[in-house]
């Protein structure tokens, strides 16, 4: 993967932050990996969104529209690779907080598919079944990612 990305910061290699830069200014983004209880092999949830400007807590209800979607997504992909470097090539589960947010994630993955698919296996959840991710096909309900 040779995509433009933001520099990103971490303390424990499970929580990452970076700054989206665009017409809306500088927006602090967070990516948090958390082990999902009762999963074997271990599966980690990826939570992604903006840091609340006052509380600093993660929230993905905001659509920031900072005209840098591809750079943001490439940065998130980088955090997955870095997480895997430190904790192993585990399955990573991701789902938007709403169907439209999940659809946004799917559009982002599809836009960068040629690059993403060289480094990651991606599955989409449809009707309670995981399928190999196909860009611009079904509307998936969640995603599962594993580094190759």
């Amino acid at each position: 993967m040779n995509l433009e990305r933001y520099n990103y910061f971490t303390n424990d290699y499970r929580a990452y932050e970076f700054y989206s830069e665009g017409p809306k200014g500088s927006i602090r983004k967070l990516v948090i990996f958390t082990k999902v209880p009762d999963t074997e092999p271990p599966i980690f949830n990826l939570a992604f969104g903006d840091a609340h400007p006052i509380t600093g807590k993660l929230n993905d209800a905001v659509i920031s529209n900072n005209e840098d979607r591809d750079i943001v997504l490439a940065t998130v992909a980088n955090t997955i690779a870095t997480f895997c470097d430190h904790y192993g090539n585990h399955y990573i589960y991701a789902e938007g907080s709403t169907p439209s947010r999940t659809r946004l994630y799917q559009m982002g993955i599809a836009a960068l598919w040629n690059d993403i698919s060289t480094d990651f296996d991606v599955y989409g959840l449809k009707d309670n079944e995981w399928q190999a991710f196909k860009p611009y096909s079904l509307n998936y309900e969640a995603f599962l990612v594993k580094r190759k």
Binding site: M1, N2, L3, E4, R5, Y6, N7, Y8, F9, T10, N11, D12, Y13, R14, A15, Y16, E17, F18, Y19, E21, G25, S26, L30, I32, T34, V36, P37, D38, T39, P41, I43, N45, A47, G49, G56, K57, L58, N59, D60, I71, N78, T79, A81, T82, Y91, Y93, E95, S97, Y123, L125, N128, E129, W130, Q131, A132, A142, L144
Partner: protein
């Protein structure tokens, strides 16, 4: 901490260590997402790789 100027690079690269990055593991939103993931994964499991 990160500056507000646009700093990008290309390709995979290491994270920059910063003690100012907090865990966020206990943020209510994160807890809710993990619980939702647990429920879904309990129901659907992992992909059947033989179908790939």
């Amino acid at each position: 901490m990160p500056a507000t100027v646009k700093h990008t690079e290309k390709g995979f690269g290491p994270a920059i260590e910063s003690s100012q990055v907090k865990s966020h593991a206990n943020d209510p939103f994160v807890i809710k997402k993990v619980e939702k993931a647990r429920e879904t994964l309990k129901k659907v499991g992992l992909p059947d790789l033989t179908k790939k």
